[in-house]
């Protein structure tokens, strides 16, 4: 059993690319998140969502057993260099377009963590779309100071 832990870590590293189910038209790549310190602070996850289909898609919600509340939020920085964050609502992804959830912009905000986010582990996140489709993906947890999916 002990030997499985490094294997799982390697597997998670080797398979960050399309891990999806439920829709052939949406692919999710480069999903990643940062480790947390305990459970008292919210976490964030990032990814790129590509709509390869011919119809627009609308991402309406998130769910995960890692967080009691998961929502897409958007950080914005104004011309005075003041940054704030707010729920982003529904994210429309036009046909053929890609939406990036990345630091300083859109992110999956993971509130009320149910367990700590531990580097090297991963968690399951479900993206919910307006047409009822759901995509479940595995999000690798990088170090607390990670700056991207490869860190």
């Amino acid at each position: 059993m002990k030997n499985l832990v490094p294997f799982a870590a390697v597997a998670a590293f080797l398979m960050p690319a399309p891990l999806f189910a439920g829709s052939d038209d949406i692919t999710v790549e480069n999903a990643w998140s940062r480790a947390s310190i305990g459970t008292s602070r919210p976490g964030a996850a990032y990814m790129t969502i590509h709509n390869t289909g011919e119809d627009a898609a609308s991402l309406t919600g998130l769910s995960t057993d890692l967080a009691a509340m998961a929502e897409i939020h958007r950080s914005t920085t104004n011309e005075e260099n003041v940054t704030s964050m707010a729920p982003a609502g529904t994210i429309d992804i036009p046909a053929g377009e890609t939406v990036a959830l990345e630091p300083g912009g859109l992110h999956a905000m993971l509130m009320q963590l149910q367990r700590p986010m531990i580097e090297g582990e991963s968690f399951s996140l479900t993206l919910e779309f307006s047409d009822g489709e759901e995509i479940e993906l595995e999000v690798p947890i990088r170090g607390i100071a990670a700056r991207g999916p490869q860190d």
């Binding site: 602070r41 920085t77 005075e80 003041v82 704030s84 964050m85 300083g104 509130m111 607390i144 700056r147």
Partner: protein, 202 residues
């Protein structure tokens, strides 16, 4: 009589012209001072994540990279702290002449222990600073940093923070030399700092 009236009008005209240009001259020459706001200075008395009282005098003699944020911030703050950690790694031996500093704008949740748990995770040389709400307020004033609570019902204690997200670079004389806006790549910050530090220590 008509001639006198003309002369009066002429004198009035000249007077208006002279007055007007004097006002204009005054305005153009005084504009820089009128518009230049008080400079950003590092002036504070706060508590480090080690529990020690710290002031700007503790930063004298070292370069400092200062960022304001809060530890319940899931996106901008860890990203910036990770960027600063990357800058420290990039600087190599020069990093010993740089003190990275994280000052909380959320003193209610970020006590000494919260900072001690959080800040060193990003880089061992990070100094986290907190204080009373009044101390944080006066510190933010000297740095011209803006911050506010934003209602966020799902967040711990029901709020998040909006805040100035730029990075401040001070030289060893505690003079502000550069501001980096959020998202400036660590490579760019490193390239800016390397020659400054080299020139300063040569």
């Amino acid at each position: 009589m008509a001639r006198v009236r003309k002369l009066v009008w002429l004198l009035c005209g000249i007077g208006i012209l002279v007055l007007g240009s004097a006002v204009l001259w005054q305005r153009t020459t005084s504009t820089p001072t009128a518009e230049s706001e008080p400079a950003i200075v590092a002036d504070f008395e706060l508590t480090g994540h080690d529990g020690m009282v710290r002031t700007e005098e503790d930063l004298r003699g070292t370069w400092s990279l200062i960022f304001f944020g809060f530890t319940h911030c899931p996106d901008i703050c860890p990203t910036t702290l990770a960027d600063v950690a990357q800058v420290m790694d990039n600087l190599g031996p020069q990093a010993s002449q740089v003190q990275p500093v994280f000052i909380t704008v959320d003193p209610e949740r970020d006590d000494v222990q919260a900072l001690a748990d959080y800040v060193p995770q990003f880089h061992p040389s990070f100094l986290g600073l907190t204080g009373t709400p009044a101390q944080i307020e006066s510190t933010a004033k000297t740095f011209k940093v803006y911050y506010e609570k934003v209602d966020e019902p799902q967040a711990p204690n029901g709020y998040s923070m909006g805040h100035t997200s730029q990075l401040f670079l001070f030289n060893p004389q505690n003079e502000l030399v550069r501001l980096f806006s959020y998202g400036t790549p660590p490579s760019e910050i490193t390239a800016d700092m390397e020659p400054r530090i080299a020139a300063d220590s040569s």
